[in-house]
C-alpha cells in the first residue's frame, strides 16, 4: 500500500475511518483484508520454503553441517547437523505451513477476499466485521503454529497427516507440546476459515450486482464459491477429529489408540477432510487460471458451463474418494476397489478442464504477459501431477509406489504447482490491488527460473519413487538399494536451491513495485470483469455506482465490436452482443 491508495481514498471522500489502526490493521474492507492475507501467506512461504531447503540439504548431504545453521541450539541441531527427529519436524511443519498458511491464505483468504465482492459488483462482503475477525483469528493460528518450534521438545513431528497412534501419545514421538500446539493452531484456523466461508457463500448468493446471474460469474468466483462450500463442510470434520486427538493426548482418552480405540479411525476422519482439502487448494487455482487464459487469449473461455459443472462435479466426488490414501492401511481391500473406481471417476472432470483450457488457447490471439506464462505453467504442472495421480489410483500399482517419492512428486506437481497459479494471480491483480504495475521483464526472468527449476526439482522424484525410495526418511544412505540415488538427490537439491533463488527477482520486483512501480490505469489488461471498471486501487465501497451487468465475463473479440474486449457492465445499443 502506498500513497496511491491513500490519495485514491482521499479523492473519494467516504466517511471511511481514517486512523492507521482501523485502516491498515483492523480494517473491515475486503480489499485490505485480502492484502493482509496475501502478505501473511507470502511471509509464511518464506518460512515453509526455508524448511524445504533444510529438508533438501539433509537428503543430499545427510548428516553434514548445514551452512549457516551452527547457531541453532541443541537438541534441534547439533552444530548445524540435523538429527532425525528434527528432520521429521521439518517436513511436518513444511507441509502444514505450505498448505494451511500459504496456499489457503493466499488463494482462498487473499484472492477470495479481494476478488469476490469486486468481481460480482458488490461494495463489500456480507459480514465485514466477521471478515476482519477471520483474518485475525487466522493470524493467531499462524503465530501458534510458528511458536511451536520454540517449545520444549520441538515442533510436531508426526507428518502433516499426523497418523495415530504415533501422534496420539507423546511417548511415541517424544514431542509433547509441539503436537498439542499443532492441533490447537489448526483448530483455531478452522474458525478463521469457517467465518471466511460463511462470508463468501452469503456474499455470492446475496450480493451480486443487478444482472450478475450465476452463469455470468467469472470462473474465479465460481471456483471460490465452490471452495467455500467445501471449506464450510470439510473443516468441521477435521475440527472434530482434532478435538478427539487433543483429548487423547491431554486427557489420556483412547479414541485413536489401540487400547480400546481405533488407530484407523483417525485416518478415515483425516482423509475425509483431507481429500476435499486438496481440491480446496486447487479449485481457486483453476478458477484464476481460466480467467487469465481467457483474457490473454482474447477469446471466450472454451466451454464455460462445462468448466463450472466440472468444478461442481469435483466438489461432489471429492467426498467419496478419501480411501485412496488408505489402500494399504489395513482397510478392507474391497473398499479399496470401490475407492479406486471413484478416484478414477474424479479424474474425468479434471480432464474436461484441461482440454477446455487448451480449447481456450486454440484460435486465440495470445499475449505473452507474465500472468499468462504462469497460468500456462500451472496447467502444464497440473497435467503432470494429475497424470501421476492415475498411477496411484490403480490399487495394485499403489502397492509399490505408496509412501515413496512418486507420491511426493505427484503432490508437489499439484500442490506446489498451485504456486504458479498464485504467481499468475499476483502479477495479474497486482495493479488492481496496489495501483501499480509489476515489472514484466523481471517477471519473465522469475517465470523462466521458476518453471525450469521446479521441473528439475520435482520430475526426478518420480524416478526415486519408481526405484522404491521411501518418503519421510531421514537418510536414504541407510539403505543399500538407495545408494544409487545419492547423485540424483544431490541434483534435486541443487535444483531446489536454484528454485528458491529464482524467487528473489519476484521478492524484489514485488516490493519495488509496491512503492515505485509504474502507475496502473483502470484496466491495464483490457479485461472484461467488473473489477477492471473500478479505479486502481478501488476505493472503499469499490464502485461509484452499483454496476449493471449485461453479459458474461468472457466476451472477447466479439464480432462487430471495435475493440477486442467488451466489459460486463458496458451497455451496448441494440441487441448486439448479448452474450452467447
Amino acid at each position: 500500500m502506498s500513497e496511491a491508495a491513500a490519495s485514491a481514498h482521499a479523492d473519494h471522500g467516504h466517511h471511511e475511518p481514517a486512523g492507521f489502526w482501523s485502516h491498515y490493521v483492523f480494517s473491515t474492507d475486503h480489499k485490505m483484508i485480502g492484502r493482509q492475507f496475501l502478505f501473511l501467506g507470502l511471509f509464511m512461504l518464506i518460512i515453509g520454503g526455508t524448511l524445504a531447503m533444510l529438508i533438501r540439504w539433509q537428503l543430499a548431504w545427510p548428516e553434514t553441517e548445514v551452512p549457516g545453521m551452527g547457531w541453532v541450539p541443541e537438541p534441534t541441531m547439533y552444530e548445524g547437523i540435523i538429527p532425525p527427529n528434527t528432520y521429521n519436524m521439518l517436513f511436518t511443519m513444511h507441509a502444514t505451513i505450505m498448505i494451511f498458511f500459504v496456499v489457503m491464505p493466499v488463494m482462498v483468504g487473499g484472492f477470495g477476499n479481494f476478488l469476490i465482492p469486486i468481481m460480482i459488483g458488490a461494495k463489500d462482503m456480507a459480514f465485514p466485521l466477521l471478515n476482519m475477525l477471520s483474518f485475525w483469528v487466522g493470524a493467531v493460528a499462524g503465530v501458534i503454529m510458528v511458536a511451536s518450534f520454540f517449545v520444549v521438545g520441538g515442533a510436531a513431528a508426526g507428518g502433516w497427516t499426523s497418523y495415530t497412534p504415533l501422534t496420539g501419545d507423546a511417548v511415541f514421538t517424544g514431542v509433547n507440546w509441539g503436537i498439542n500446539l499443532w492441533v490447537l493452531s489448526l483448530f483455531v484456523l478452522a474458525f478463521s476459515s469457517l467465518m471466511g466461508s460463511i462470508n463468501y457463500i452469503t456474499t455470492v448468493i446475496n450480493m451480486r450486482a443487478p444482472g450478475m446471474t450465476y452463469f455470468r460469474m467469472p470462473l474465479s468466483i465460481w471456483s471460490l464459491f465452490i471452495t467455500a462450500i467445501l471449506l464450510l463442510l470439510a473443516l468441521p470434520v477435521l475440527t472434530a477429529a482434532l478435538g478427539m486427538l487433543f483429548f487423547d493426548r491431554v486427557f489420556a482418552t483412547n479414541f485413536f489408540l489401540p487400547a480400546g480405540g481405533m488407530p484407523l479411525l483417525w485416518q478415515h476422519l483425516f482423509w475425509f477432510f483431507g481429500h476435499p482439502e486438496v481440491y480446496i487448494l486447487v479449485l481457486p487455482a483453476m478458477g484464476v487460471t481460466s480467467d487469465i487464459l481467457s483474457v490473454f487469449s482474447r477469446k471466450p473461455i472454451f466451454g464455460y458451463r462445462a468448466m463450472a459443472y466440472s468444478m461442481i462435479a469435483i466438489a461432489f466426488l471429492s467426498w467419496i474418494v478419501w480411501g485412496h490414501h488408505m489402500f494399504l492401511s489395513g482397510m478392507n481391500p474391497l473398499l479399496g476397489t470401490a475407492f479406486m473406481l471413484t478416484t478414477m471417476v474424479i479424474a474425468v472432470p479434471s480432464a474436461i478442464k484441461t482440454f477446455n483450457w487448451l480449447g481456450t488457447l486454440w484460435g486465440g490471439s495470445i499475449r505473452f504477459t507474465v500472468p499468462l506464462l504462469f497460468a500456462i505453467g500451472f496447467v502444464s504442472n497440473f497435467v503432470i501431477g494429475g497424470l501421476s495421480g492415475i498411477f496411484m489410483a490403480s490399487t495394485p500399482v499403489d502397492i509399490f509406489i505408496h509412501d515413496t517419492y512418486f507420491i511426493v512428486a505427484h503432490f508437489h506437481y499439484v500442490v506446489a504447482g498451485i504456486i504458479f497459479a498464485m504467481f499468475a494471480a499476483i502479477y495479474f491483480w497486482f495493479p488492481k490491488m496496489f495501483g501499480r504495475m509489476m515489472n514484466s521483464t523481471w517477471g519473465i526472468v522469475h517465470f523462466i527460473g521458476t518453471y525450469i527449476f521446479f521441473n528439475l526439482t520435482f520430475f526426478p522424484m518420480h524416478f526415486l519413487g519408481v526405484g522404491g525410495h521411501m518418503r519421510r526418511i531421514y537418510n536414504p544412505m541407510q539403505y543399500e538399494y538407495l545408494e544409487q540415488f545419492g547423485d540424483m538427490n544431490v541434483f534435486i537439491t541443487i535444483s531446489a536451491f536454484l528454485l528458491a533463488i529464482s524467487q528473489i527477482p519476484f521478492i524484489v520486483n514485488f516490493v519495488w513495485s509496491l512503492f515505485a512501480g509504474e502507475k496502473a490505469s483502470e484496466n491495464p489488461w483490457e479485461a472484461n470483469t467488473l473489477e477492471w471498471s473500478a479505479p486502481s486501487p478501488p476505493p472503499h465501497g469499490n464502485f461509484a455506482t452499483t454496476p449493471q451487468v449485461y453479459r458474461g465475463p468472457y466476451e472477447y473479440s466479439v464480432p462487430g465490436v471495435e475493440e477486442d474486449w467488451l466489459p460486463q457492465d458496458r451497455p451496448l445499443g441494440a441487441a448486439a452482443a448479448t452474450g452467447h
Binding site: 521429521n88 497412534p165 476397489t337 478414477m344 509412501d403
Partner: protein
C-alpha cells in the same frame, strides 16, 4: 497385447521405468504390467497435451491484423474429451481389480507361515521352527531377519506393537501397513533365492529412517541349514 510376464524383457524400458527394482515375486509381474500400461497411457496423454499447448501458443500468438476466433465451445469435441478419458480410466480400473483381488483379497493357502511384529524401531520375526507351526515352543525369533523358502506361498501375519509401521519389500512388490491391535495377512511367493531389503515405509517416529530388516529367501537345502543353526 504382450503376455504379462514377458513385458519386462521386451526392451521397452524407458527412462523412468528402468529404475524399477528387479521383481522376484509371482505377482510382481502383474503390478509391473499395470505400471507400464499406465505409464504409456499417461505419457501419451502428456505428450498430446504438451504438443497441442506449445503448438497453440506458437500458432496463435498475437499478430497484427488477426483477431481471435469468437467461439464459446463445441459440444461434439467436449463430449469426446469427456468420454474418451472416462472409458480409458474405467478400463484401467477393471484391469486393476483382478490383480488387486489376487494380491489382497484371495490369498492362496499357506505353504509356510511367519509372524512379523513391527515395533519402534525393529521387526520382530517369529519363524515356525522345525515343527513347521507358528505359535509353538520351538518358534525361532530373530530381529530384523525374515527367512522364507523359495517357490512357496508364504503367509506373513503382520502385527505391530506400538505405532503403525509398514512392511515393504521393493523386490517383491509387497507393501502393507502393520496396525497395532490387528493381525493383517500378507502373502507372497518368491521365485529367486537371495537377500532382499525390508524397509519400514510408514513414518513411525524418529527411528523410522533406518528401520530396516532383510528377507532371506532360501533354497530347500539352505532352509534346512538355517533351521539347524537356530535350534536350541
Amino acid at each position: 497385447m504382450l503376455a504379462k510376464s514377458e513385458f519386462h524383457e521386451e526392451g521397452f524400458e524407458l527412462a523412468m521405468m528402468s529404475w524399477l527394482p528387479e521383481n522376484v515375486s509371482t505377482y510382481g509381474g502383474q503390478i509391473d504390467y499395470l505400471f507400464y500400461l499406465i505409464y504409456y497411457i499417461t505419457a501419451a496423454a502428456l505428450i498430446i497435451v504438451t504438443v497441442l499447448m506449445v503448438a497453440f501458443l506458437i500458432v496463435y500468438r498475437q499478430r497484427a491484423g488477426r483477431k481471435a476466433v469468437y467461439i464459446h465451445g463445441n459440444t461434439a469435441l467436449e463430449v469426446t474429451w469427456t468420454v474418451v478419458p472416462a472409458v480409458i480410466l474405467l478400463l484401467l480400473s477393471f484391469m486393476s481389480i483382478s490383480t488387486w483381488g489376487e494380491i489382497k483379497i484371495y490369498a492362496p493357502p499357506a505353504e509356510y507361515e511367519v509372524r512379523v511384529v513391527g515395533k519402534q524401531f525393529n521387526w520382530d520375526v517369529f519363524h515356525p521352527g522345525p515343527d513347521g507351526k507358528l505359535g509353538t515352543k520351538d518358534d525361532i525369533k530373530i530381529e530384523n531377519e525374515v527367512h522364507v523358502p523359495v517357490d512357496k506361498v508364504v503367509h506373513v501375519q503382520l502385527q505391530a506393537s506400538d505405532v503403525i509401521h509398514s512392511f515393504f519389500v521393493p523386490n517383491f512388490r509387497v507393501k502393507q501397513d502393520a496396525v497395532p491391535g490387528r493381525n493383517i495377512l500378507v502373502w507372497f511367493e518368491v521365485t529367486k533365492p537371495g537377500k532382499y531389503e525390508l524397509p519400514c515405509a510408514e513414518l513411525c517416529g524418529f527411528g523410522h529412517s533406518g528401520m530396516l530388516g532383510w528377507v532371506f529367501v532360501h533354497t530347500p537345502e539352505d532352509y534346512e541349514k538355517f533351521l539347524k543353526e537356530n535350534q536350541g
